[in-house]
Amino acid sequence: MTLCTEAFIGLAREESRALGMPELPIAIIQHPLGGLKGEQVAQRAREALEQVVVGLTRARH
């Protein structure tokens, strides 16, 4: 499971393929993350939560 912001999704997918993990679940977060205050970061985390749950559990479906 990997999280990254939308600006870096191309690199993330390239790396997952290059390293032999093309099916790696990637949760995508709105960019930027850097410079946000605590509550804003927490909001990003809440928004990503569903993707994380799906990403970590989908192999079991």
Partner: protein, 352 residues
């Protein structure tokens, strides 16, 4: 060797314009016209390396693809290299793929570092490289095309394309072509390659993940110490990576010959220069607190980050400041900050 099977994709294209449009559309160009890599040209370039086409020189991230003599030769032809440049390019690619260089980070970072290729030794004259006026600039085939070929390998083999693999926020002109030669004749000290343990008669390539050069203009100093104060001042800024990445990499100072001569005439050895710059190129905690890359990376524990007056050097030790001499007449030198989390790597150039 001339009968070796080559594995590169073969394209049949109509004419020069078709070549340019196709290579641009396929994402194989740096935006400038390329020299068509015909099979004959590529085979000649491979032969000039003295190595088999299939030999792997290293693995190039972010694609983690193998750089082979063949695909490096293809990019060398595209860049406009002469065949006798190939051994330098081979050494440069091998050096960049060394784990100490941390090429994945150098390629993918949002930082604008290019890969500076510094050539030192007899091969500088043999290839007609420029180590004098305009040393960082255009006008000399070897400097221009070796640097360009390096970038094309990083893009075409490694997959570092702007915004797709190469995440540099703004990039840099240093990413087009960044290759210089050390000016042995103008250096008052032994050449960099000798300092690094090679023999004077050997030639080397050093790769440095450097920003474009920051000029150091000192026209009035009549003492070496004062010139070095100007150099140190140029090095001391909070906005480069070395302000916060201490002890994890090196930086580079390229002294112009006139500055180097004055510094050496006042009794400074290269080691003295490094020691001076290490002691004087320092930011203060108060200038860095909550700015730039404050606390993004571990600092050495001998720096008291609770003391506003504490000094922060830009490297962890004097040895992490590379010093060499290049350039023509005039009172200018250059400081090259780096990505910070990378160490320069030097390899010998092996000619067939």
């Amino acid at each position: 060797m001339f009968n070796e099977k080559l594995v590169s994709e073969r394209l049949t294209l109509r004419d020069h314009d078709d070549v340019q449009e196709t290579f641009l559309a396929r994402g194989w160009s740096d935006g400038l016209p390329i020299v068509p890599p015909t099979e004959l040209k590529v085979r000649d370039m491979i032969a000039a390396s003295g190595l088999p086409a299939s030999q792997v020189l290293g693995v190039v991230p972010p694609r983690f693809a193998e750089a082979t003599v063949e695909n490096v030769a293809v990019n060398a032809v595209m860049a406009g290299c002469r065949q006798d440049y190939m051994p330098v390019l081979v050494a440069a690619v091998q050096a960049a793929c060394d784990p100490a260089f941390r090429l994945y980070s150098v390629q993918a970072t949002t930082h604008p570092c290019g890969v500076l290729v510094v050539v030192s030794g007899p091969i500088v004259q043999q290839l007609g490289m420029n180590a004098g006026f305009g040393t960082f600039g255009p006008g000399h085939r070897a400097n221009a095309t070796i640097g360009r070929a390096m970038r094309l390998v990083l893009m075409n083999v490694g997959g570092a394309l702007p915004g797709h693999g190469d995440q540099a926020t703004q990039g840099s002109p240093a990413k087009y072509s960044y290759c210089i030669a050390e000016n042995d004749a103008a250096s008052p000290w032994p050449p960099l390659r000798v300092e690094l343990g090679f023999l004077p008669q050997q030639s080397t390539v050093t790769v440095i993940a450097g920003e474009a050069p920051h000029n150091v203009n000192d026209h009035v100093c009549t003492s070496g110490e004062n010139i070095l104060h100007t150099v140190a001042s140029t090095m001391t800024t909070i906005g480069h990576n070395n302000s916060a990445c201490i002890g994890t990499g090196d930086v580079c100072v390229v002294l112009g010959p006139e500055h180097a001569a004055q510094i050496a005439a006042d009794g400074f050895s290269r080691a003295d220069v490094r020691e001076f710059l290490f002691r004087h190129a320092r930011n203060r905690v108060r200038d860095m607190r909550d700015r730039a890359m404050w606390r993004m990376h571990e600092m050495p524990d001998w720096i008291d980050l609770d003391d506003d007056d504490a000094e922060i050097p830009i490297v962890g030790a004097p040895e992490e400041i590379l010093v060499l001499v290049a350039g023509g007449a005039g009172k200018h030198s250059a400081f090259i900050p780096t990505f910070g989390l990378t160490r320069s790597v030097t390899r010998r150039v092996e000619t067939p």
